[in-house]
């Protein structure tokens, strides 16, 4: 028995041993979220053009990714390149010393032109040092995808006010479907919707003041209005049943499968449905407005994923990493990225040449948000503990069992106060 174990161990060991690399090949370990066709397209092109650099890609599904990245960096195994969410998370890795300071490289290679000034500023610390660059597609949220054919056939008006949505919801149900598909199992769409409702009545700068305490949740009218709007929508049956336990995929499939008439979701729903033509004409409608006469004060539009290089890199590996970084953020790299994901990217130089952009990006509902003041997607605008409390409070509010908006706001303020101190 002991001998068998040794044999097994030997087999296991040899199965896992990597063959010695050719002397000239440099291997880079890159970590990223799973299911990213943009990365796959860009990496394939890079490897074809650079046969002496081998890319070892490690991926996990998004929630798992955040944990695993943290565990691996904490253990001293920072990847050579990796992606992470921006904002507070980004700076946690910087503070840890995991990220390479690329300020001089940005200068040297002229990378600043490859993205918007405010995106780059978000990756820069108080001392003016830059630690990463945005690398992904961006998207708008303030809108509801809807089945044009269904609305026209049943003569249903498009949403305008929160007040009036109840009637529309009723008409949709009478015609045999549920209103809005909304998969809030992980609390994420709700917090993004909150962001959309906040920018209906106030500006990004005012929202950011919640971080310093200049505005408080309990005293900030836009917050109260936004919460009440969402509570009312939920109470009026705007969301399809099961919305608190459904994940994004189920919500999307219910819309694609014609059980719901509208969908609140990001522009990545075609990746889930595996088609961008579900067999009906797609329109983008306004979210029901708190005040239909007030123009939008801002938009959630942000480079949410940043690309970083590890601080530990040196010599050949560092050169190879810089080469890869340069390619990925370049116009050429971003065109590949954007076409694979069918959306506009964080690189304005590349955007005009992305041919595969989905049609709905050209809908007036999205275009009207183009030049509004920008804010991060709300789930990265505040510290994580506050975000988690907001998610829970929103779920409580939307369950409609007597819990008041004031109680919810007080809970969020309490959580935020604790974070402002530190």
């Amino acid at each position: 028995m002991i001998r068998r174990r040794t044999l097994l161990a030997g087999i296991a060991a040899s199965a896992l041993m990597t063959l010695p690399a050719l002397a000239e090949t440099v291997e880079l370990t890159v970590w990223d979220n799973a299911g990213n066709p943009g990365r796959e397209a860009a990496f394939a092109a890079f490897e074809a053009a650079n046969p002496d650099i081998k890319l070892n890609v490690v991926t996990f599904a998004s929630e798992e990714y955040k944990t695993q990245l943290r565990v691996t960096v904490a253990g001293g195994n920072t990847p050579d390149l990796f992606t992470t969410n921006g904002g507070f998370t980004f700076f946690e890795y910087v503070d840890r010393g995991a990220a390479m300071d690329i300020t001089d490289l940005v200068e040297e290679y002229g990378w600043a032109e490859r993205t918007e000034a405010e995106f780059l500023a978000a990756d820069t610390d108080e001392n003016g040092r830059i630690w990463g660059m945005p690398w992904n597609t961006t998207q708008y949220w303030q809108g509801l995808f809807y089945d044009k054919d269904f609305f026209e056939a049943n003569d249903i008006p498009l949403p305008s006010s929160v007040e009036g949505f109840k009637d529309i919801a009723q008409k949709i149900q009478d015609a045999g479907r549920y209103p809005i598909a909304f998969g809030d199992k992980d609390g994420w769409p709700a917090i993004l919707m909150l962001g959309d409702y906040l920018v209906q009545t106030t500006t990004p700068d005012e929202i950011r003041k919640l971080n310093t305490g200049e505005n408080t949740w309990t005293d900030f009218k836009p917050a109260k209005d936004a919460f009440e709007a969402m509570a009312k929508l939920a109470a009026d049956g705007a969301f399809a049943p099961g919305f608190l336990s459904m994940n994004h995929e189920a919500a999307i499939m219910s819309w694609v499968g014609k059980r719901t008439a509208m969908l609140y979701n990001g522009t990545w729903w075609p990746n889930v449905a595996k088609t961008d033509d579900p067999g009906f004409a797609i329109g983008v409608a306004k979210l029901p407005m708190i005040d239909p006469d007030l123009p939008l004060q801002g938009t959630q539009y942000w480079a949410s994923i940043q690309l970083l290089m590890g601080a530990h890199l040196e010599g050949e590996k560092k050169e190879a990493a810089i080469k890869l970084f340069d390619f990925l953020t370049s116009k050429e790299g971003m065109i590949l990225y954007g076409n694979a994901r069918k959306a506009i990217t964080t690189n304005p130089q590349a955007n005009p040449e992305i041919t595969e952009i989905a049609a709905f990006f050209r809908e007036p509902e999205f275009l009207r948000q183009n030049d509004k003041p920008k804010i991060q997607f709300l789930d990265h605008a505040f510290p994580i503990p506050v975000i988690e409390v907001i998610k829970v409070e929103l779920q409580k509010i939307m369950q409609n069992n007597g819990y008041t908006v004031d109680e919810a706001l007080a809970a969020i303020e309490a959580a935020h106060v604790a974070e402002r101190k530190s």
């Binding site: 199992k185 399809a240 336990s245 994580i384």
Partner: protein, 308 residues
């Protein structure tokens, strides 16, 4: 039972010979050594480490800051912690109350309700299949089942002409029970296997004697089988209770503790603090407290068995 007899024998012999210890020497320790090494290095050591983590304010990335018992003080003031305890206790009560029962029913049904060994074997296998599917997969499967818009259950309602969509998982008052049903579906097989092994231990002479006395199957079960299964029942109850305290995977996959924390057990609360909020010190304190609670519960349930 035997151990007490054994101990009594040893005591008798040592009293006679006047020596104090039976002559086993270091043999017991040698036997336990391999297990101790494994256990010590890969279970005890990490647990002790997490005791130390509980004394830190640590985000998993930067070096931790020593804060003494602050995490524990904060924990006792945290309403989310108490909420999670409440939910855990409900889950544990259901686990201990229902799971051993369903396992027993299954084991009895297979042994007494089937007429041939092959049928019995097939039945036992089918009943065990739920255990073989990984927890994550089971959670996903049933989440799809429960989906009011797409799920199987609602499809059945639709066939009967009802348009209503019932959301069992998304409703705070029903979600825990909906998830528990899945736990019953999957975990009954566990106790069933242990009961099946115990049932084998019942001497066939007992059955023969009962039949000679003209007992019906039901009477045999009530008066012969069940009393003999009591010790096993307690064991399975204990295991289910401990498992209940730790319950994580299934609930997390199905609802992630939601909606609005309605299914957030202490394990999930721990996980969220450690891996979502990045408060590893605080999360470790939760794990220490949970550890103590389970320890107390276990001691209470098994006092008599260990007192030999």
């Amino acid at each position: 039972m035997v151990a007490e007899a054994y101990d009594a024998e040893i005591a008798k012999s040592t009293r006679r010979r006047g020596s104090r210890l039976p002559g086993h020497g270091i043999a017991p320790y040698l036997y336990m050594a391999p297990a101790l090494v494994l256990f010590g290095a890969f279970l005890i050591y990490p647990v002790i480490q997490s005791f130390f983590y509980s004394l830190l304010d640590w985000d998993g990335l930067q070096p931790g800051v020593y804060v003494g018992l602050d995490n524990y003080a904060q924990l006792f003031r945290d309403p989310n912690f108490w909420n999670s305890l409440k939910i855990t206790l409900i889950w544990v009560a259901m686990s201990g109350g229902i799971l051993p029962l369903t396992a027993l029913v299954l084991a009895l049904l297979v042994d007494f309700g089937t007429t041939s060994r092959t049928l019995g074997g097939i039945a036992r296998t089918v009943l065990f299949i739920p255990m073989t599917i990984s927890l994550v997969a089971v959670g996903l499967l049933f989440t799809l089942f429960y989906n009011p818009l797409l799920g199987v259950i609602n499809n059945v309602f639709l066939q009967f002409g009802m348009m209503t969509a019932i959301d069992l998982l998304g409703n705070s008052s029903t979600t825990l029970m909906a998830i528990f049903f899945v736990a019953v579906w999957q975990w009954s097989g566990f106790g069933m296997v242990i009961f099946a092994a115990a049932l084998q231990g019942i001497p066939s002479e007992l059955y023969d004697a009962a039949k000679i006395d003209g007992a019906t199957k039901w009477q045999i079960i009530r008066h012969v089988v069940l009393p003999l299964l009591v010790p096993t029942y307690v064991v399975i109850l204990t295991l289910n209770v401990i498992g209940g305290f730790k319950a994580f995977d299934l609930i997390y996959v199905m609802t992630a503790g939601g909606p609005a924390q309605a299914s957030e057990t202490t394990s999930i609360f721990l996980y969220k603090n450690a891996f979502v909020l990045h408060k590893f010190g605080y999360g470790s304190a939760v794990s220490v407290v949970l550890f103590i609670i389970i320890g107390i519960a276990t001691v209470v349930l098994t006092r008599r068995r260990f007192a030999a």
